[in-house]
């Protein structure tokens, strides 16, 4: 049954790739809807399949063919893979439902057909990465995923921002593949096989781990490899941002978890490295998010933060495992995995609703929005659910997973090493800072986008989006609520015991208190209501310019964390006289310093540019020279072989 379902879903996704490719020249809605319909059907089948495996716990593996002994092409789905399949299926289905309407409002004519096909290719490659039974097919589909997502980012290829974003993304994603490949080759050197089997402890496996960690970190957007996220997300269409942020980053998480669980036997310092990367990404990610005024770039930075939280959980898992504390280790790992699922839900919800907002207001600048709660009531309610979830407020799902990581942090009392204990407590403090800052960030986002008065003409004329652009996010919002309120029950259902509070009970108590208060007010308090202007110290009318803007809102945090932001001030002045007394003209420019770009990315880029320049001297373009190279190489090989013999 499972094999049939699996083949069916793959075939449906294939159909979803073929239909738009065949009809690429014809700009008709029906083909795009058919392709996205395939995505939805494929996702539903995939979702059913993964639920069956998750609930029954059976492992399904399937070898297609085996050309030689060390290598076989096949798929394998265990509970971990099924969990990530469920994540892919849930997000893809909702995104496709949303895109059926969204894509019709995009520019690009029949290019939109290709967008649909490429989306299906992207989803298919991600799901095949997850089900890969060996490292070679893992790498192959990993690269396919990278390539197809690059095409998706480049959809609006004429825009200047898009070109920069695309090239940046392409280089980063190729680095990722390069490091993953290096890791896999090193692993082959250690074990002599391409299977995902235990590799033992040695220098080679440590090197392989580091290479894979860098490869996965680049893909997951871990700081300092994060820079592509805030470029690629604003440039690509919203459903694609949702897919990349909610799903593709999680594929990197899957890769890390899979290799840590099945291949490596992690050591303590690996855990500390992962924990450190995670904590740094979480804190810096959200601090940068607070400063952003482009709504999609803000969500991208917030993804960096959330991946940081997931890495924190994985780091704790490795640390506790190396201390032989399986109970705490499994709570941390479950926290990390559950947060992956939850982040996929609320982040795709936020990206889709942000897409609706951008569609309605024609701007990504949150300072130009405002007042949308009156004009887009349903979208605002959906965005609000996502904001509550991402700010980790009970009883929604963001809290349900963060509390697991909190619990494992709090329980680190049991770790023997006192220095490590202090380190863990410091990471705990930073972790708490992260979640408080993310609450501030989403108060700012929701407040600036949806509340108060519209700050631009477009924002004042915004209209609610059509039904299907609400339906997709609505399903995700429902998932955010269900995964939060029933978190404890879900863990019991899949047969895992975690010491987490019953959020259903808390939800009931919250509801009961609110209802009782309402009833009390209903019978005792005055029911008179008056609508009047906002009090403004006697000013006759309220203007949008008088409101607190997003920048203003985050100003205190900017000042407090000014050392992190590092603004760069440039001013040039010209004077009429020689003694610089009479000012003629001048320019002043205050900009945020791109620390990582200036100190990490550019030096690497410059160094490789210089290296390329040196190497390019060998490339004369003259055939004789190349023949000389070949001749010299042959001589060198002969001498070398003779030496060996």
């Amino acid at each position: 049954m499972i094999v049939e379902l699996f083949i069916l879903s793959i075939l449906v996704f294939f159909l979803g790739i073929l239909v738009p490719l065949v009809t690429a020249a014809r700009d008709q809605r029906v083909f795009r809807t058919a392709a996205l319909g395939c995505t939805i059907i494929g996702s539903v089948v995939l979702g059913v399949l993964s639920l069956v495996i998750l609930l029954t716990g059976q492992v399904f593996s399937w070898t297609i063919f085996q050309p030689f002994a060390a290598f076989s092409l096949g798929f394998s789905v265990d509970r971990l893979a099924a969990f990530f399949l469920l994540l892919i299926a849930a997000v893809s289905g909702c995104v496709a439902l949303y895109a059926t309407e969204y894509i019709e409002h995009l520019d690009g004519g029949s290019r939109r057909n290709l967008l649909c096909g490429c989306t299906n290719l992207f989803i298919l490659s991600m799901l095949l990465v997850v089900v890969s039974a060996n490292t070679v097919s893992f790498l192959f589909f990993w690269e396919l995923m990278a390539g197809s997502s690059f095409l998706l980012v480049m959809y609006e290829y004429t825009g200047p921002d898009t070109k920069k974003a695309g090239i940046f993304y392409f280089v980063m994603t190729q680095f990722s593949t390069l490091f993953v490949m290096l890791g896999i080759v090193l692993l082959y050197g250690q074990t002599g096989s391409f299977s995902l089997a235990p590799a033992g402890i040695s220098f080679l496996s440590t090197a392989a781990f580091l290479a894979l960690l860098i490869g996965f970190s680049i893909k997951a957007g871990i700081i300092p490899f994060h820079k592509w996220l805030p470029y690629a997300h604003p440039a690509s269409p919203s459903p694609i941002s949702a897919l990349m942020s909610a799903v593709m980053l999680k594929i990197a998480v899957y890769g890390l978890v899979r290799f840590l669980l099945d291949v490596f036997s992690p050591e303590l310092w690996w855990g500390i490295v992962i924990l450190f990367l995670g904590t740094a990404s979480a804190v810096l990610g959200i601090i940068y998010a607070l400063k952003e005024y482009d709504i999609k770039a803000m969500l991208a930075y917030s993804s960096i933060e959330n991946v940081g939280i997931i890495f924190t959980g994985i780091g704790l898992y490795v640390i506790f495992t190396s201390y032989h504390m399986p109970g705490l280790a499994s709570i941390s790992l479950l926290g990390a995995l559950f947060h992956s699922l939850n982040h996929a839900m609320f982040k795709s919800l936020l990206f889709l609703t942000a897409g609706s907002v951008v569609h309605a207001t024609h701007t990504r600048d949150i300072e130009q929005m405002g007042g949308l709660v009156h004009r887009m009531p349903y979208t605002s309610a959906l965005f609000f659910t996502g904001a509550l979830a991402i700010a980790a407020l009970p009883p929604l799902n963001g809290f349900a997973s963060e509390i697991l990581i909190f619990i494992s942090f709090f329980s680190s009392v049991a770790v023997a090493d006192p220095l490590l204990k202090v380190l863990l407590f410091i990471c705990l403090a930073l972790f708490a800072l992260t979640s408080a800052l993310s609450a501030a960030c989403f108060v700012k986002a929701f407040g600036s986008v949806f509340l108060a008065l519209p700050r631009s003409k477009e924002s004042g004329e915004a209209r609610e989006v059509p039904l299907r652009m609400l339906l997709g996010p609505a399903i995700l919002a429902a998932a955010c609520i269900i995964l939060g309120v029933f978190a404890a029950q879900i863990f019991v259902l899949v047969g895992l015991s975690v010491p987490m509070p019953d959020l259903f009970l808390v939800g009931l108590l919250l509801l009961a208190m609110a209802v009782l208060t309402y009833a009390f007010l209903f019978f005792t308090a005055s029911r008179d209501v008056r609508i009047a202007g906002t009090w403004g110290c006697g000013t006759p009318s309220q203007q949008p310019a008088m409101e607190y803007s997003g920048h203003g809102f985050s100003e205190p945090i900017d000042i407090i964390f000014s050392t992190v932001y590092r603004t760069k001030m440039k001013n040039e002045r010209k004077f009429f006289d020689r003694k610089n007394c009479i000012f003629a003209e001048g320019t002043a420019d205050i900009s945020l310093m791109k620390i990582f770009e200036e100190y990490v990315y550019l030096p690497v880029a410059r160094a490789s540019y210089h290296a390329a320049k040196v190497v390019s001297r060998f490339q004369s373009g003259c055939l004789d020279t190349y023949l000389l190279y070949v001749f010299c190489t042959v001589i060198a090989i002969i001498i070398y072989l003779g030496w060996l013999a």
């Binding site: 007042g371 929701f446 005792t524 009047a532």
Partner: protein, 313 residues
Amino acid sequence: MTFSFIFYLIINTVAVLAIAPLFMSIIKKVKAWTQGRRGPSVFQTYFNLAKLLKKEVIYSSHSSWIMRVTPLVNIAAILVAALFVPLVFVPEPVGGIGNIILLLYLLALAKFFMALAGLDAGSSFGGMGSSREMSISAIIEPTTIIVFAALVFVFKTLNVFEMFITSAATGTPATPTLILLAISLFIILIVETSRIPVDNPETHLELTMIHEGMVLEQSGSNLALMELSSAVKLTLLMALIINLIVPFGLATSLTLGTIVVAAVMFALKGTILAGIIGLFESSMSKMRFFRLPSLFAMAFFFSTLIIIIEVFA
């Protein structure tokens, strides 16, 4: 869910609602005395609430459903949070009620809604209040979590109920570490309830207001709910300190005698702590907003020190 737990839910909510306005008034009274005034009656907060219930509610024409649901969500979240901190009677915990992390995040839930309501009407006072409130709550968070972690460390449990049971069994005086922790908890209380030197609850001057700025647009019964919820929040944080440090009289079994004794003892201890808060506020001046991070950093290093002492002890 046992009978005693349901009884606990009722008794705790009633107790906290009944006593919270009193503590607010006592603080005001003490502050008035130190300024040489007679001050309002200790029942003034009750009268204020009763008065506000009779008034009409005014909404801004720019405001949305956020403004309308915030008072309800706020009071519900704070009352549920109050259930996590037993005032007079500690039952066996049920379903994770009493989890200290959840307690913190229920307070955050109330804060989130309040900050959004501050932005809702588009008034710059509200925006200023929310902006400052969210900034302050973000930078105090590491301290809070470290103090809570230290509590978890000392009591070996995540549950406030079990902490109280342990402290009631150990009795008074508490250990030196706990007294150090109580000082940190006191700083958290001052920050979380927006008191001097962080915020001034008495004034509506724009330079000082944080909490008052956010609730400026609230009126009538909604304002009553907001004021009551900040009183309840004060009481639950006070109860956390009281029942950890001086737990004597705290009822762990359900009989009429012990409950009455516990209630009287709690009211007494709370009155004393409220007096201390009043004196503390009177002896300080409001700090400049951007001086606050250094105050918090002090509290942070203080609580980290406790952890380090505990770790190496």
